[in-house]
């Protein structure tokens, strides 16, 4: 009550009220926008270097960022109540698409991940699931008491398992795991008792050999490569050796922007997409990495604040899941490029070249803004 009162006073809380005004009127969050703009600009510079100082891909990426921004702002205008009501239908729609992929999926590199309407659109339904799964879980827990009971957890687990399995058999283990993480984050934030958490973790460890058995050949190799990339330096080990070499040779201040040899002489694979952090590390060094990490942390911090400020269970769980999932992407990408996680095609959020990842992320931030800007101020 009192804080709200202060905010309404003229003068004293000027800046705060201007943010509120912008937030209330346009449903956008200025801090998120500023941080996104900063990270994306930083990323575009690295991309410009990674593609060999050609403007084409940079312009193309700018265009994609523009489209994604429009999507984000549009999604921010939609009241959270709409997402709450639409959640079950969106989920069913998403599952339907994933099943279609199994039958009509367009195959790239031995796994069918794409749905294709020729001449209209190519898209991966699994991307949609990254947002829709947290949404349905938030919807489910919104109606129920917290902390969730075992019965509710069973249904939540089922909701998670269906899309994860569907994506996993495409096969796209990496995306499947990330969708799973997004769902599990909701469950964690919903207050699942810790004994369940540790119980499941224990079970997962015991189930690991079984998981290993069902993994495809190339998936097993990727995991093995993590421990011993030198065993096949020209084959599966090549990527990780070269990216570690790029990062390590960068040192504290890097070789200088556009001066990276690993990337410009094509030793570094996927230098514009999944491995772009290695270009940054090589050219701008540890300092460049720390700047990027700081920006990510600020973005995550703002997201956490927005999640905490959300009033409804649905909004809180969804916001929290979105922002933590975002950071998990960051960790998984940098972890895999620097050789502490297996290589699982995850792009570096906001920096890697490509539209799909940007679109999903921006849509997520749009929902975050929507939840935050549509909240009732009066308590």
């Amino acid at each position: 009550m009192s804080s709200d009162f202060v905010r309404r006073l003229p003068g004293g809380g000027f800046s705060q009220s201007r943010y509120s005004w912008l937030s209330r009127k346009f449903h956008v969050d200025v801090i998120i926008l500023a941080l996104l703009a900063t990270i994306c600009s930083y990323g575009l510079i690295v991309l410009y270097s990674a593609v060999g100082r050609e403007s084409g891909p940079v312009v193309s990426q700018l265009f994609k960022l523009g489209v994604a921004s429009l999507v984000m702002i549009t999604m921010a205008q939609i009241p959270p109540v709409f997402y709450l009501r639409a959640a079950p239908w969106l989920y069913l729609f998403g599952i339907a698409l994933l099943i279609m992929v199994l039958f009509f999926g367009y195959e790239v590199n031995g796994s069918a991940r794409w749905l294709r309407i020729p001449g209209v659109i190519n898209f991966q339904p699994s991307e949609i699931m990254k947002l829709v799964l947290p949404m349905i879980l938030a919807w489910y827990f919104h109606e129920r008491h917290m902390p969730p009971k075992a019965k509710h957890l069973f249904w939540a687990a089922l909701m998670i398992a269906v899309p994860v399995v569907l994506v996993g058999v495409q096969p796209d283990l990496g995306t499947g795991l990330l969708i799973c993480v997004a769902g599990l984050l909701v469950v964690l934030l919903a207050g699942v008792p810790w004994r369940y958490v540790f119980g499941v973790m224990g079970l997962a460890l015991m189930a690991a050999p079984a998981l290993w058995a069902v993994m495809r050949d190339y998936q097993q190799r990727r995991v093995l490569m993590l421990f011993d990339p030198e065993s096949d330096p020209l084959g599966s080990g090549w990527n990780i050796i070269q990216s570690k070499t790029a990062i390590g040779s960068g040192g504290l201040f890097g070789k200088g922007l556009f001066q990276g040899t690993q990337s410009h002489l094509d030793f570094l694979p996927e230098s514009q997409t999944d491995f772009i952090i290695a270009v940054l590390a090589e050219e701008l060094g540890l300092v460049g990495i720390l700047v990027l990490l700081a920006l990510y942390i600020l973005l995550a911090a703002r997201g956490v604040v927005m999640a905490v400020e959300a009033q409804e269970t649905f909004g809180r769980l969804l916001s929290g899941s979105i922002i933590f999932t975002f950071f998990v992407y960051v960790f998984v990408n940098i972890g895999m490029v620097s050789g502490i996680l297996p290589v699982v095609g995850v792009p570096l959020p906001l920096v890697s070249y490509g539209g799909t990842s940007i679109l999903t992320l921006f849509a997520g931030f749009g929902i975050l803004m929507s939840i935050h800007s549509h909240r009732r101020i009066t308590l």
Binding site: H145, M146, P147, L185, L188, L189, A190, G191, L234, W238, I241, Q242, K244, T245, A246, I247, G248, S249, G250, G251, L252, T261, Q262, H264, L265, D266, F267, A281, G285, L286, I289, L290, L293, I297, A300, V304, A307, V308, T313, R316, L317, G320, F324, F327, F331, I334, G335, S338, G339, I340
Partner: protein, 646 residues
């Protein structure tokens, strides 16, 4: 929670949520710290390691092959040059399916199972991705054309060129210049691998071997920056290679052609030497082989065919074939007789057609011996003994000289030693001596052994090169020369380690004149009564625009240096005598000395002399008679008349 209408406890839910958010933030901080720690480890602690890796990735030290020196004949005709050789390479990373590509290539060009096996071995050994690996070598123009047509359909398949040795004259010069061969495992142990890091070949035979260090050149290096596809993007530092020395040989390709053609299909050898320098003008060994076969690596079957041929084409008869010289040794023995005083120019014997040692029943026959006793040459002095090739005279002379003096007076002419400057494979023949016989056979020397030496048979063996050299020294009237291939070079050559042999200066000029004149009569003395013409006159002596000195030889064959098996049908032909003819011309100022040997050719004057004449005719085709020559001719005729008067 038992009551059915429980209200949502908002504050409790808020509390749970906030707690979980805090846990999430702690985890987030933890993950961030892990990332920072990992980056710190890679970029600060392991920085040096990865800097080295990065440099090793992109910086490569590449050997730059020097261009091997070219070899020319004395008139600038190319004998050995370097031509591009094309090989087919596959870059594994650029082909879609290696097995399919190999199969597809097999339909375009011939790819054997061995080729594929060797290719896989090389593929497993490569250092980096995108390194092209050779599959086929020595592509023919047709193969290149076929592959080029299909290239767009098969990415990752390329044709690469590198310079390799080529001998445009093929078999003609094989025995004269030798050849380079591929470096094998054995060679690798003996050579400086750094010096050879840019090349796959080394000189293995002949001039190519002797001047290997000079021909090779110096390997260069370039430090290059390469990308992951192995393409050079930047040259950081370069030490250029130094091309090998170009060699100009004494050999005259035209003369070589004529000599080779004159021998035709007959087995034999011709060595022609420039007396003033010892330069080898022609060095023919027949049959020969195409040295280009060995440059790229010859296949087993073709090699076996060459190696096992009854005609031993790989054997260099000119410098390695050791034969009995026959009567060609006579002029040298004559000189030995004169200089030792055992005979004088006027010394005369009566030749009844046969010779017997005292207290020995064995009959040593002259070549015109007849059972009725009407053979022989009658009264014979040294001059007649040479132009009629009288055996009895030289039997007696050899016995009178004794083996020690024979040895001591023949060795200055290079018999029994390899005096060649740059022919490492040349053999030294055999000039027998008492010591030699005791050492090898454990027997004392018998006078009977000496008798046969008198007519160049028995234990004495010479190579065609040795005989040609001895004739060159004779033409020089004792001025020593060592046979050599190299005339000049584009670079400074190291000094020869060989001590030059001393000139033969104890022989009086009159003795040289006498022997040389007698040799000229072998060819030019004609239109006389029966039994008075030079032995070769009837075959080559008419219509010669120049004057020459010559000597025929006909030697029974004892061995051909290689112990090949005789085909029963060939037996007769291969037991025929070896035909020799040695000569130098023009008489007054010799510019060429030569030795011709026809294996199993028969009589020297009849079969070897015409070949020698063809070679001399070609070499002296621009010969202009001088007044000097006429005066010499007069000198020659006088003693001849004296001899007939006797």
């Amino acid at each position: 929670m038992a009551e059915p209408l429980a209200l949502k406890d908002h504050s409790r839910e808020s509390q749970i949520f906030s707690d979980r958010i805090v846990v999430g933030c702690v985890l987030l901080a933890l993950l961030t710290l892990i990332l920072i720690a990992r980056m710190f480890y890679l970029q600060i602690i392991q920085h040096d390691v990865y800097t080295t890796l990065s440099d090793r990735n992109r910086i490569q030290l590449q050997a730059v092959a020097p261009i091997r020196g070219l070899i020319y004949d004395r008139h600038g005709e190319l004998i050995a040059d370097n031509v591009p050789s094309y090989s087919l390479t596959i870059t594994k990373e650029r082909v879609e399916d290696l097995e399919e590509t190999l199969a597809a290539l097999g339909t375009i060009v011939e790819v054997s199972a061995d080729d594929i096996k060797a290719f896989r071995r090389r593929l497993a050994r490569r250092q980096r991705p995108f390194e092209p690996v050779p599959l086929l070598f020595r592509l023919t123009p047709e193969e290149i054309a076929k592959i080029s047509v299909d290239r767009y359909a098969t990415p990752g398949v390329d044709v690469e060129a590198r310079l390799v040795r080529h001998y445009p004259l093929s078999a003609l010069m094989a025995h004269a210049v030798g050849s380079v061969r591929r470096i094998n495992e054995n060679d690798l142990r003996n050579i400086d691998t750094v010096a050879y890091s840019g090349t796959n070949h080394l000189g293995k035979i002949g001039v190519e071997r002797f001047y290997e260090d000079q021909l090779l050149g110096k390997v260069g290096y370039q430090q290059v920056e390469i990308n992951a596809r192995g393409r050079i993007t930047n040259v950081l530092d370069a030490t250029p290679s130094v091309p090998g020395a170009d060699l100009i040989l004494h050999v005259d390709a035209g003369l070589q052609r004529v000599a080779s053609a004159a021998l035709g299909a007959q087995r034999g050898a011709i060595v022609a030497i420039e007396p003033s320098t010892g330069g080898i003008l022609a060095l023919v060994s027949n049959p020969s082989y195409d040295p280009n076969l060995f440059v790229a690596g010859i296949d087993q079957a073709s090699y076996a065919a060459l190696r096992d041929s009854i005609d031993v084409p790989l054997f260099n008869r000119a410098i390695q074939g050791q034969y009995e010289p026959g009567s060609t040794i006579k002029p040298f023995l004559g000189l030995a007789g004169l200089v030792t005083g055992v005979i004088t120019p006027d010394y005369v014997i009566n030749d009844p057609g046969a010779y017997q040692l005292p207290n020995n029943s064995r009959l040593y026959r002259d070549w015109n011996w007849k059972i009725d006793g009407r053979g022989g040459h009658g009264l014979v002095n040294l001059q007649k003994a040479i132009y009629r090739s009288c055996n009895i005279f030289f039997y007696q002379l050899a016995v009178k000289l004794g083996i020690d003096r024979v040895h001591d007076h023949l060795s200055p002419f290079g018999f029994g030693a390899n005096t060649a400057v740059d022919l490492p494979e040349a053999r030294s023949g055999l000039l027998p001596s008492r010591k030699w016989k005791e050492r090898t056979r454990g027997e004392v020397w018998f006078p009977g052994d000496t008798v046969n030496i008198g007519i160049g048979q028995g234990d004495i063996l010479v190579t065609p090169l040795q005989l040609a050299t001895a004739v060159a020294i004779l033409a020089n009237r004792g001025k020593m020369v060592s046979p050599r291939m190299l005339k000049s070079s584009s670079q400074l050559m190291p000094d020869s380690k060989q001590q030059p042999l001393p000139d033969i200066d104890q022989i009086a000029s009159a003795y040289w004149d006498l022997v040389i004149e007698s040799m000229s009569m072998v060819v030019h003395r004609g239109d006389q009564v029966w039994g008075e013409n030079g032995t070769a006159w009837a075959y080559i002596g008419r219509d010669i625009p120049y004057r020459m000195a010559g000597k025929s030889g006909t030697a029974q064959i004892v061995e051909i240096a290689q112990g090949e098996l005789y085909d029963a049908d060939e037996l007769d032909e291969r037991q025929r005598k070896n035909a020799w003819f040695v000569a130098f011309a023009p008489l007054e100022k010799p510019t060429i000395a030569l030795a011709v040997m026809v294996e199993n050719g028969g009589g020297g004057s009849e079969f070897a002399a015409p070949i020698a004449r063809k070679v001399l005719d070609y070499y002296l085709r621009d010969y202009e008679p001088t007044s000097e020559r006429d005066t010499r001719a007069d000198l020659v005729s006088k003693p001849a008349q004296q001899a007939t008067l006797r």
